[in-house]
Amino acid sequence: MSRIGQTFIALKAHNKKALIPFITAGDPGKGLTVPLMHALVEAGADIIELGVPFSDPMADGPVIQRASERALANKVGLRDVLAMTAEFRKINTTTPVVLMGYANPVEHMGYETFAQAAKEAGVDGVLTVDIPPEESHGVADVFKAAGLDPIFLLSPTTPESRVEQVVAAAGGFIYYVSLKGVTGSANLDMDEVAQKIAMIRAHCSLPVGVGFGIRDAATAEAVARIADAVVVGSRIVSEIETAPEGEVINRVRTLVQDLRRGVDAASK
C-alpha cells in the first residue's frame, strides 16, 4: 500500500482527519522549500502538496499564480522540485508528498521518465490539473505502475455519471474542488459540499479531500466534519507572500498549527 493509503488508515484508526497544506516549490526562495516542508509537518501536516511552477497556471487564482511567477523567477523547474523532494526524504520518510501542477512540464520530461524519477525522489502522488481521465491515455497507469498515486479532481459541475469514470482512474484520494472558480475563491456552502461528498462516497471507496475556500480554523473544522482531508493552498501561499523576510517559516508554522486545531476540533 502507498504511503498515502497508509496515512489515511493510520488517521482513521485515531479517529482523525488529514490536513494537507499546499506550497509552491521555489517560493519564496529555492532554499526555503525543504525547510518549509519540515515546518509544515511539525505544525501538523499529514500530507504535503507541493506545487510545480508553471508559466500558465490556468486553473489558479492570482495568489498561486504569483507564487508560480516568483518560483520561475528563481529558476525552479520540475527537476528542481524532484530534487527538493529527495532532499526532504533524507530526514522525513513517512509524510506523503503529492506533486500538483500542469501537464506540460511533465509531458516535456516524458511521462515514464518523470514517473521513475518522481518515485526515486520519494514522491507519492501526482495531480496534473489539466489532464482529465479522458486524456490520461494510460498516464494514470504509468503513474500507478511506478508506484505513484494518480490524484484526480471532482468539481461541483461534475455530473454523477462521470464520477465513476474519474474514480476508476484515481488513486490515493479524491480531491473535491468545493467551488466553481479558480484557487483562492471565496465562501463555501457547507450543505452543498456535504451533499456532493455523499454522492461521491456512493461511488468511491477512496478517501475524499476537499479544497478551495478554506482559510481559517473554523472553515477547516467545518470541512473536516464532512471530508477525510482538508486541503489548504491559497491561504498559506498568501501568508508566504506577505510575511517579512526571515519570518516566513514562523508565520506558516503558526497558521498551519491553527488549521490543525480546527481539523482536530471536528473529531472531538
Binding site: 508559466s55 500558465d56 490556468m58 511567477e69 520540475l78 471532482l154 462521470r162 474542488v177 466553481k180 475563491s185
Partner: protein, 399 residues
C-alpha cells in the same frame, strides 16, 4: 482516416488537440459539444448563420486580382481574398456570429472573449451588441496599449475591456484569464474563443464557421481564372483564418497550402512567435500542439510586431497538417511583413492588417520563383486601420 474527417469524436487530430482542462470545465465543454452537434444538423441554425453572414457581415467577400502588386513582385499572379472588406474589418466575425448564435441557443446571456490584436474582441463586442448580450473582453495590458483604437471600438460597442497584467501581458495571458472567468461563471457564461485552438470542440467549431472563406474561394477562383489556385497562403497565429481557407482546399491535391508564422526578429534570434517552424509539441490552453517552450516545459514569451500573431501555440489541426505534409509552414520576420504592408498600401491602395501582411510578404518571396501563369491566392484576413499607430511609431512618426 481522411484528413478532412478529423477531429475524432474526442477532438483529436492524430496526437494533437484533445481536452486538457481542469475538471470544472469538463461538463461545460461536453454541453457545448452536444449543443453544437445538434445545431450543425439543424437547417434553421444553418439558415440563420448564412443569413447573418450575407446581410449583416456582407459576405461573400470578393477575390481581387492584385495586378500592380503582381507586376511589382514579378512572376506569379497574386489574388487577394478580401476578408478586410467584411464587417467589422476582419475574418473574426465569421466565428463570433456562429458562436453567438450557439450561445443564444444555449440560453447564455453573458459572453466573454480573449483578444490579442483586438480584432476578435471587436468581433465579439459586435455580435454581443447585435444579439443583446453582456460582453467582457480580456486583453493583455501590453496589447491594450499597442491596439488602443480597437479598445475604444470595443467600448463603443458596449463591451467591458479587462487589461491582463500577468505573465507576458499578451494574448496567452488574456486566454488564461478568460478561462478563469469561464471556470468561475460557467453556468451563465459562454466563452467565445477567438481562434481554432483551445479544448475540443473549439478547434472544430471555429474551423467550421471559418470554412466559409475557403468555400467561397473554391467558387470564386474558377469564375475569375478558370481554375483553382496553385498556392494558397495565409498567416497563422492561432490559425483560424488559415484553417478557414485551407480546410476546404485539402481535397484539392494540386493546391499547395502555406501557413506563415510570425518570425519576429528572426528565428535564430529566439524572439519570434513561430511554434510550427521552431517549436516542439506540448500541452497548453486545453490542447496538444506545437508550442514555444523551454527545456523545463515552461512557455516562452513570444515576440511579433503583430499582436494577433503573438501567441506561443497554434491550432491543433495545423500541427497535424504539418506532420502529414499537407500544408507547409514558414516564418516571416517583422521587417519583411512591414515592407509588404507598405507595398500593399502603395501599389494597391489597400491598408492591410499587420497579421495579413505576413502572408503578403511570403507571396513576395514566392512569386518570383513561379511562372507568370501561376496563381497565388493570399487570404487578406483583415484591414490595417488598427495598426497605423504601430506602423507610424516604427517609422519614427508621432500621430
Amino acid at each position: 482516416m481522411k484528413l478532412t474527417d478529423l477531429p475524432d469524436s474526442r477532438g483529436h487530430f492524430g496526437p494533437y488537440g484533445g481536452i486538457f482542462v481542469a475538471e470544472t470545465l469538463m461538463a461545460a465543454l461536453d454541453e457545448l459539444r452536444v449543443e453544437y452537434e445538434k445545431a450543425r444538423q439543424d437547417p434553421a441554425f444553418k439558415a440563420e448563420f448564412e443569413y447573418e453572414l450575407k446581410h449583416y457581415v456582407g459576405r461573400p467577400s470578393p477575390v481581387y486580382h492584385a495586378k500592380r502588386l503582381s507586376e511589382q513582385y514579378g512572376g506569379a499572379q497574386i489574388f487577394l481574398k478580401r476578408e478586410d472588406l467584411i464587417h467589422p474589418g476582419a475574418h473574426k466575425i465569421n466565428n463570433t456570429i456562429g458562436q453567438a448564435l450557439l450561445a443564444r441557443r444555449m440560453g447564455k446571456k453573458r459572453v466573454i472573449a480573449e483578444t490579442g490584436a483586438g480584432q476578435h474582441g471587436v468581433a465579439s463586442a459586435t455580435v454581443a451588441a447585435r444579439y443583446g448580450m453582456e460582453c467582457v473582453v480580456y486583453m493583455g495590458a501590453e496589447d491594450v496599449i499597442r491596439q488602443a483604437p480597437n479598445v475604444f471600438r470595443m467600448k463603443l460597442l458596449g463591451a467591458t475591456v479587462v487589461p491582463v497584467s500577468s505573465g507576458s501581458k499578451t494574448l496567452k495571458d488574456a486566454l488564461n484569464e478568460a478561462m478563469r472567468d469561464w471556470v468561475t461563471n460557467v453556468e451563465s457564461t459562454f466563452y467565445i474563443l477567438g481562434t481554432a485552438a483551445g479544448p475540443h470542440p473549439y478547434p472544430m467549431l471555429v474551423r467550421d464557421f471559418q470554412c466559409v472563406i475557403g468555400r467561397e474561394c473554391i467558387t470564386q477562383m474558377p469564375e475569375l481564372t478558370g481554375r483553382q489556385p496553385d498556392v494558397v497562403i495565409a498567416c497563422v497565429g492561432g490559425g483560424s483564418n488559415a484553417i478557414g481557407i485551407f480546410h476546404p482546399y485539402i481535397p484539392f491535391e494540386g493546391v499547395r497550402l502555406i501557413g506563415v508564422e510570425a518570425g519576429g526578429s528572426g528565428i535564430a534570434s529566439g524572439r519570434h512567435a513561430a511554434p510550427l517552424s521552431a517549436g516542439t509539441p506540448g500541452v497548453l490552453h486545453g490542447f496538444r500542439s506545437y508550442l514555444m517552450q523551454d527545456e523545463n516545459g515552461q512557455i516562452i514569451e513570444t515576440h511579433s510586431v503583430s499582436a494577433g500573431l503573438d501567441y506561443p501555440g497554434v491550432g491543433p489541426e495545423h500541427s497535424y497538417l504539418k506532420d502529414a505534409g499537407r500544408a507547409e509552414y514558414v516564418a516571416i520576420n517583422d521587417d519583411d511583413a512591414l515592407a509588404a504592408f507598405h507595398d500593399l498600401c502603395r501599389y494597391e491602395g489597400i491598408i492591410p492588417a499587420l497579421e495579413s501582411s505576413h502572408a503578403v510578404a511570403h507571396a513576395k518571396k514566392l512569386a518570383p520563383t513561379l511562372g507568370r501563369d501561376q496563381i497565388i491566392l493570399v487570404n487578406l484576413s483583415g484591414r490595417g486601420d488598427k495598426d497605423i499607430d504601430t506602423v507610424a511609431k516604427l517609422s519614427g512618426i508621432t500621430l
